[in-house]
Symmetry: C2
Subunit: 415 residues, 2 copies
């Protein structure tokens, strides 16, 4: 019945260009880290656009920003669409901004077409999704889902020495026109449009990904200790070289985890040795392990495998391995109801799509713990993200916004 | 005919203790880096001991220090015995000092016994063997052998910003009682006593190593480049992970080079990745390769093997490897005549010994290019060196000095 509602593509692309100017880097990327002056400027701009439209603006104690267009029933929980406005220090223009500005475009398009939704529709920009200025990432959505800010976050400091607490306060008072609301209000659902941040849609030439869930992630820190010794004088039988043990363990893991299971991911992103001297056998090797899998028990099994393999390979060479878990994010399954709404929208639009999992975290991961949630992906060039060269074709940005619009209407029972 | 000449063990041990106090570290080691105030103090002390005995003292433009006891024929080239007095920043008491002070003990013992040698016998303390304050190491003996100081050394700077040129000058003028002599005078031979800096003598319970040569060494820098990408979103078939290629290459090399040839040494002492983020597939891996072998063509073959294996493993994974040689020290074979003199001494003394190769460089490597040269090793505890815990049993220090004395007499045709 709303087949004729179309997002305004030119307006959306203009906004993307406009927001890319806030924290613009010389190489065409964006440096708009969470709660920075640039982030505050982007929030203020969005709030001004909302005020120009007569939409209400709210923020909570985590500085999550909400823009509300009322629906028929003011009393029922709103439906949320959005993403984040903060970026990596050398980030791109689309990661977060595309989802947030497309959500605002949905609000404006509905307003232009004078279409009333059964419940209020709210655009949300979550605080500090990236986690690069204050750790951890996804602070805003996590606190929203938990209805609490963990006490230790208040002591979090940015690399430039600022306290999270102080930066939150400064950001909130910089937007006095936004009314304060409690942290973690009831909502009736959440849809997020985001760039894929991986190459699969582009390589398969599919413009829309229907995201069924987010892989679980575990980070492990492996330390193997042996005995440092002189490179020239020490015979093989006297060596206890932890780097030999580490490479054997890594080879065993590389050769089994991903080749045996296409849903599994294994990445060793950091490795260092001590004393790191060209002519000394290392005494200690440390490396990180990033494990991902959509299935929680399988993820636990992979962690156990890493532990066993490292300890066995170390032991054979007279070394010792310790494996410490430093991060644990369980997998999330998105809402079948909302995924059906996205499929419905894609079918109506007649565009190709594929079901997929997200390998990266998103705010939707935390929303999924408290409401129906799902995500929509569009391709980005070469799968590049967290990179100034990040790029999304204009037609994919506009199509993503249109799918978000139609999925929202379907989720609200309006199509 | 000089069977009765014995070194004075107590005097030698007292000297070792005494010199260990110059640059002593709280943990019992020594920080007496080349051309530092501590190094100058040690030189001055040795020069004073020489003056007390009436021995002549000389230095050359590289601040190599010579102490001369005249022989029957003043005109023929002297025979040199010695080592170095400089240490690593956190070094031990014996590396260098044992050889230098034992050589001085040989001079004193011969003087005490009133034994005249056919040619002059000189103790030498070579400048900057360690190479830790100014690079490269073995500067003194290298310049002596080449009879020239490479122009680029003059611009060498210490970590505290001092120019080698200035530190050389300051060291030379701090010892005005030493007469200047040309760099690289003709000599008739060179014998050096040193600690093994490896565990083999201690483990086999053999007090003397007769050192037949020094392994050749090549240092390679391997860089493998692939494509950095997101740890969670990137499927196996899209990955070009240079760390996978590097570990495959390292495993192949670890599994063949040393297991197939007990004279070969392979050490990977440094490895680093970029961007070194837990959740990013590395885009670039760099690692060092230290290869050693006593046989020059075999060393060249091993370098070629590293090159081929790295390039093959990289290529299979869509990565690219470059292998650059950063250092090349050809193997040295010591003088059969001098080795026979050492064997003769060991037999006379009735102590057990074994022929061995040195895996570490020594000043003798450079002397071997211009004269007959050889080395004698004594065991050190746990093979530890370049470490404050470096330790040599007193009886091994004294035995080493006695073997040096008797080998010198044998080399001079006096026993």
């Amino acid at each position: 019945m709303n087949a004729s509602v179309k997002v305004n593509g030119d307006r959306l692309l203009g906004r993307l260009e406009n927001f890319a100017g806030i924290g613009a880097t010389p190489a065409g990327g964006v440096n708009r880290q969470a709660l920075s002056p640039e982030d505050r400027l982007a929030r203020a701009k969005l709030a001004q656009l909302a005020a120009d439209r007569g939409f209400a603006v709210f923020q909570d104690s985590m500085a999550n920003l909400f823009i509300r267009r009322e629906g028929k029933s003011a009393g029922r929980p709103p439906f949320l669409i959005g993403s984040h406005l903060d970026s990596q220090p050398m980030g791109g223009r689309y990661d977060g901004a595309l989802g947030t500005l497309s959500a605002f475009e949905v609000l404006e398009s509905l307003d232009d077409a004078d279409i009333q939704t059964p419940v209020a529709l709210e655009v949300v920009a979550w605080t500090n999704e990236e986690g690069s200025r204050f750790s951890p990432g996804a602070m805003g959505s996590m606190a929203f889902a938990n209805r609490a800010i963990p006490a230790e976050w208040h002591h979090a400091r940015s690399p430039d020495g600022k306290l999270l607490q102080d930066e939150l306060t400064a950001t909130l008072i910089a937007l006095p026109q936004a009314a304060m609301r409690p942290l973690g209000i009831p909502v009736s659902g959440y849809l997020e449009l985001h760039i894929e941040q991986g190459p699969s849609l582009e390589r398969e030439n599919i413009p829309i990904g229907v995201v069924h869930g987010i892989q679980g992630t575990r980070w492990l820190e492996v330390v193997i200790t042996g005995q440092t010794a002189h490179a020239g004088t020490t015979q093989l039988s006297f060596r206890r070289d932890p780097l030999v043990a580490a490479t054997e363990a890594m080879q065993t893991l590389y050769g089994s985890i991903m080749p045996n299971d296409e849903q599994a991911r294994l990445t060793i992103g950091r490795i260092s040795v001590e004393p790191a001297s060209i002519n000394a056998i290392p005494g200690k090797v440390s490396f990180s392990v990033d494990l991902r899998h959509p299935n929680a028990p399988e993820l636990a099994r992979l962690e156990e495998l890493v532990r066993t393999v490292c300890q066995e390979k170390a032991s054979v060479l007279g070394c010792e391995a310790t494996v410490r878990r430093t991060f644990d994010m369980p997998p999330a399954q998105f809402s079948p109801t909302l995924l059906a709404a996205v499929e419905h929208a894609v079918t109506r639009l007649g565009v190709s799509s594929k079901p997929m999992l997200s390998g990266a975290f998103h705010d939707a991961l935390f929303l999924a713990r408290v409401t129906e949630a799902a995500m929509i992906f569009v391709p980005c060039r070469d799968g590049l993200s967290h990179n100034e060269a990040e790029y999304v074709k204009p037609e994919h940005s506009v199509l993503g916004a249109q799918v978000l619009l139609e999925s929202t209407l379907a989720a609200l029972g309006m199509s």
